[in-house]
């Protein structure tokens, strides 16, 4: 088991660095105008621009830039924002934003697991019945319709029906409800659909037939064998979900004007803030690699086959 964890950790570490490197190199292709505030860009002559670019080091060979970036990274310095929050250190900006995204993300995970998992179980248990059809209908809508469309319509219509505020206000708790729910809309469907599929797959296995032949009732087999086994792949995705909540939802934070990380990425793109784009993109990528890694560690806990085959040698 230890061997597996060590091996997997080293692998993830390598992947993280490759991802950072690749993304960093891709970012060298960013339009150079993104290193200037709008006013500066317009007032400067081409020579002045070049001189400025040279002074901040973006004309250095990419590898040198990467080296400098990494050195700064270890000092906890991600650079400074250019246009969105001029001259402000990016780490400072992030510290403030992460709280909002994490709070909403956490709320949405609780809501979506709380609804999605029972929904998936019911759909598998009553496969082909009304409840399965309703669940399927819901998930088809959520998965096939572009999320922007249903999130926007949800915001507009539901806020009108229940008289809730359409935008987020820090000190009005009722304004937190809509974004938290809308953030869960698609993940409810995600949990329900996959749990249902895994359960249906499990139910066809020989050992489930054998468990039934033992005379255990269908509901007992469902609960103690089918659900238990089908939950394993779902559980593996949970660390990833937990980690990525920090990054917030791009669309929702923008729609409701939540001052979180997701909205920040969109702002930084719209205002062409190269440094901020770079920092955010890298953070998102690292979080995603970490999530996969933690999921793989979790397998060790939930699946005895991996735990033990590895310990044997």
């Amino acid at each position: 088991m230890k061997k597996y964890i060590v091996k997997r950790s080293i692998q993830s570490l390598i992947t993280i660095w490759i991802v950072i490197f690749v993304v960093f190199m891709l970012l060298r292709l960013m339009p150079t105008s993104g290193y200037f505030t709008r006013d500066d860009y317009l007032t400067m002559t081409e020579e002045m621009r070049q001189a400025y670019l040279k002074s901040i080091g973006v004309l250095d060979p990419p590898l040198t830039q990467f080296k400098n970036f990494v050195i700064n990274l270890f000092r906890g310095d991600l650079g400074r924002s250019i246009t969105v929050y001029p001259k402000l250190s990016i780490t400072t900006i992030l510290k403030e934003k992460i709280g909002y995204s994490a709070a909403f993300g956490f709320a949405s995970i609780v809501i979506s697991m709380g609804i999605g998992i029972p929904m998936g179980i019911l759909m598998a248990r009553y496969k082909g019945k009304l409840i399965d059809d309703l669940g399927t209908f819901y998930s088809v809508i959520v998965r096939a319709v572009p999320s922007l469309i249903y999130l926007f319509l949800f915001q507009v219509w539901v806020s009108k029906i229940f008289g809730l505020p359409m935008l987020f206000y820090k000190n009005r708790p009722e304004s937190w409800i809509l974004p938290a729910i809308s953030m869960s809309l698609s993940s409810i469907a995600w949990y329900a659909i996959w749990l249902r599929r895994f359960m249906v797959d499990e139910a066809n296995r020989d050992y489930i037939k054998f468990a039934q032949a033992k005379g255990l009732s269908e509901s007992y087999v469902m609960k103690n064998h089918v659900l238990r086994n089908a939950f394993v792949p779902i559980a593996i995705g949970i660390p990833s979900d937990l980690l990525l909540i920090i990054s917030g939802s791009l669309i929702i934070e923008n729609l409701y004007s939540i001052p979180g990380m997701g909205g920040l990425l969109i702002d930084s793109i719209k205002q062409m803030d190269n440094n901020l784009v770079q920092a955010l993109v890298l953070i998102y990528s690292v979080l995603s690699v970490l999530g996969v890694f933690l999921g793989d560690l979790l397998i060790v806990l939930v699946d005895p086959r991996i735990r033990l085959t590895e310990s044997e040698d």
């Binding site: 992947t15 572009p146 469309i149 995603s288």
Partner: protein
């Protein structure tokens, strides 16, 4: 001798004559009538919903591609006549007009055509390239290590972030969106095909081909691709809603197609801005868009179910 009876039938002597063995009949009797494709289509078309949606897709595509032929309305025609701006649906402009007096009905069909075209190009490239590389990847062991690493890197960067990044770096255009979507999508398709091919590769009929010295080219075309066709159709169908959704999303964050290109995505995003005052400007194109994405999504999934031999019951 007494007459003998069995169940009221007289058993005459000649009934006990020997009859010759018919070799042909004895060989034929085990004949099974199962055919993969017949069963797949039978299962698929058993569902009335599938038939209906296939008809819907065909009708919408045909209509949008033929629309320019029998209509002379120019979707870009703006008018300076203020009365003709933001007109609600009427007998002349069935879906009304937008803020510049352009006919939304005409724009919707031009947009449908462009969006379908975009989705189709992406589907063909993504699934086409993905299947071919996937088939080779699964078959050539030496590639595996490299490809798996590449897959890990590409998929570890969240697809939205990747999409944003590429669109940010490149100029917004039709090609950019195709490149952005297809360049991350192909490897997911390839991995999917590779897993399928890996299981096919070890099956005895492929070993048999190896024993007969069949060249890779023919192994891929005769032994592998025919087994993947149903997967290819399904994946291509499912790529369509994803591509259309991504186009809407990119438009939302300001990285979509240039605003003068008529696509459903652009129309939805433009309509959203005026939604409070003129909801129809967003709703009509949205309805058409949703019909398309939902139809493709369901058809893809239904076909996936139908093509699984387990469901040929």
């Amino acid at each position: 001798m007494d007459k003998m009876y069995y169940n009221g039938i007289e058993l005459t002597d000649d009934l006990f004559d020997k009859i010759p063995l018919d070799e042909h009949l004895s060989e034929e009797s085990g004949y099974s009538n199962y055919s993969y494709w017949r069963s797949t289509f039978r299962t698929f078309f058993k569902s009335k919903l599938s038939i209906f949606l296939v008809v819907v897709i065909l009708a919408l595509s045909l209509f949008s591609f033929l629309y320019p032929v029998f209509s002379s309305t120019d979707p870009q025609q703006i008018t300076l006549d203020v009365d003709k701006w933001n007109m609600g649906p009427n007998s002349e402009n069935w879906f009304g007009t937008d803020g510049l007096g352009r006919d939304i009905w005409a724009r919707t069909w031009y947009g449908t055509r462009n969006s379908l075209l975009l989705a189709l190009v992406i589907a063909v490239i993504e699934v086409g390239v993905g299947s071919i590389i996937g088939a080779i990847w699964g078959y050539v062991r030496k590639m595996d290590r490299f490809m798996i690493e590449l897959y890990n890197i590409i998929t570890n960067i969240p697809s939205t972030v990747y999409l944003i990044l590429l669109s940010y770096i490149l100029e917004p255009s039709f090609t950019t969106i195709v490149i952005a979507l297809a360049s991350s999508g192909w490897i997911v398709e390839a991995k999917f095909m590779r897993n399928k091919v890996l299981s096919l590769r070890e099956s005895e009929y492929n070993i048999a081909s190896q024993c007969l010295g069949t060249p890779l080219r023919r192994v891929v075309s005769k032994n592998i691709i025919p087994h993947l066709i149903s997967l290819i159709i399904m994946e291509a169908a499912l790529t369509v809603p994803y591509s259309i959704g991504s186009e809407v999303f990119l438009g939302f964050i300001g990285l979509g197609l240039p605003l003068d290109t008529v696509t459903l995505g652009n129309m939805v995003n433009q309509g959203r801005a005026n939604f409070m005052l003129y909801p129809y400007q967003m709703l009509y194109p949205t309805i058409v868009l949703c019909i398309i994405t939902i139809s493709f999504y369901i058809v893809g999934n239904k076909f996936a179910d139908a093509s699984d031999p387990k469901n040929h019951v």
